[in-house]
């Protein structure tokens, strides 16, 4: 896999406590990330972190351009908000593993194009 766009941090959600993200997509995305040579953060389940207001989410929201690989952008946006860590208007790109193929997500991660929440 080509190098990811390292100008943005990458946060990958494994959606570990439900089967809503197709298993093959999330496994394939994770595999591509681990083979990309890029540093990234992986979390077991963003929903669970939001429910207990994990302060790490605030760090993600505050510290610059980030690509979040999870599910529907509207869900992710309001999950962060519910945790007291609202995402900024600009600089956040949310990629949806419920609707996109792993290949499309990997391709999006390689580009610097801005797609905001």
């Amino acid at each position: 896999m080509r190098a990811m766009n390292t100008q943005r941090r990458i946060v990958y959600c494994h959606c570990a406590y439900a089967q809503v993200v197709p298993a093959d997509v999330k496994q394939d995305v994770l595999r591509r990330l681990t083979e990309s040579g890029t540093s990234f953060d992986a979390v077991a389940d963003l929903c669970e972190m939001a429910a207990r207001r994990d302060p790490w989410l605030e760090g993600v929201a505050c510290q610059g351009p980030t690509q979040i690989v999870a599910c529907y952008p509207r869900a992710v946006k309001w999950l962060f908000s519910s945790a007291g860590a609202p995402l900024p208007e600009h600089g956040i790109r949310i990629l949806n593993m419920r609707t996109e193929a792993a290949e499309a997500i990997a391709a999006a991660l390689e580009t610097a194009e801005d797609v905001d929440a």
Binding site: Y17, S39, A44, R52, C71, R74
Partner: protein, 288 residues
Amino acid sequence: MSAPLARSLRVVLYEGVGSRSIADADRFAMMTTLLQGGYAVTSVRTGSRTAPEGARTPIVVLGRFEHTPPREAESDSAAAPVFFRDIEGVDAPAIASIVESVHAEAGTRRPGGWKPWFPVIDFGRCTNCMQCLTFCLFDVYGVSPDKQIRVQNPSNCKTDCPACSRVCPEVAILFPKYKMGPINGDEVREEDIHREKMKVDISALLGGDIYAALRTRSQESKQRFARERDDKRALEERRRCLTKLQEQLDIPPEVLAALPSLDQIRAKTERAVAAAIQRQTPAGTEQQ
């Protein structure tokens, strides 16, 4: 939303300066195992950035270190301990055991144990009408000091029950783990607004005509809530409403079985009505 803050253990899989790289297949297996175990893992490779720590949580750094690292150090920023463990020749299942033992040593929160199922409010759509608060029988919702609806007790929510999202007139309640849109966070289309606005007779379910009472605010209406109703009729009415709810709102049977008693529902209704009337009364302290 308020839930107890708890320190969780973060795992760093370190392949930067001073540590040898890990084979791709091993890195993937290790990360998959740890994520399935509920841990957050940062993969650190030379020359690229990761999200900031941002939290004062203990960290365990795993790596194939070239020199023996200290077993434990204190991080500069947060006085949280940082543990180092050499994983030379260690496979994914053994890594999980190493992390488990650090977790026990650090006294961090045990990951998992709960399917995170709770409503998330889309405040871009919410009009603060409070229907969800009135409807939910499990006190999931509350009101913030600035009188804004909020999810107050997410862990009270009944797993796989999306019922409140179906009574929200604005389609503003999401359950990110729900199977279908727009409740799962998919975009809301015009037809969704009509489809999701199911005019369920929740007042009957709750044992009284809440909204009529709110409209008239007459003493006569208020008395209607307090008046004893024929128990048999009330139970039948409730059963009918519950069946309707189960079909229309996708409520799991076990949630229906766990519903509070009619008396509890009546008491909740009275509290909600009193609060709502107070909000609508000019002299009320919570007037909007």
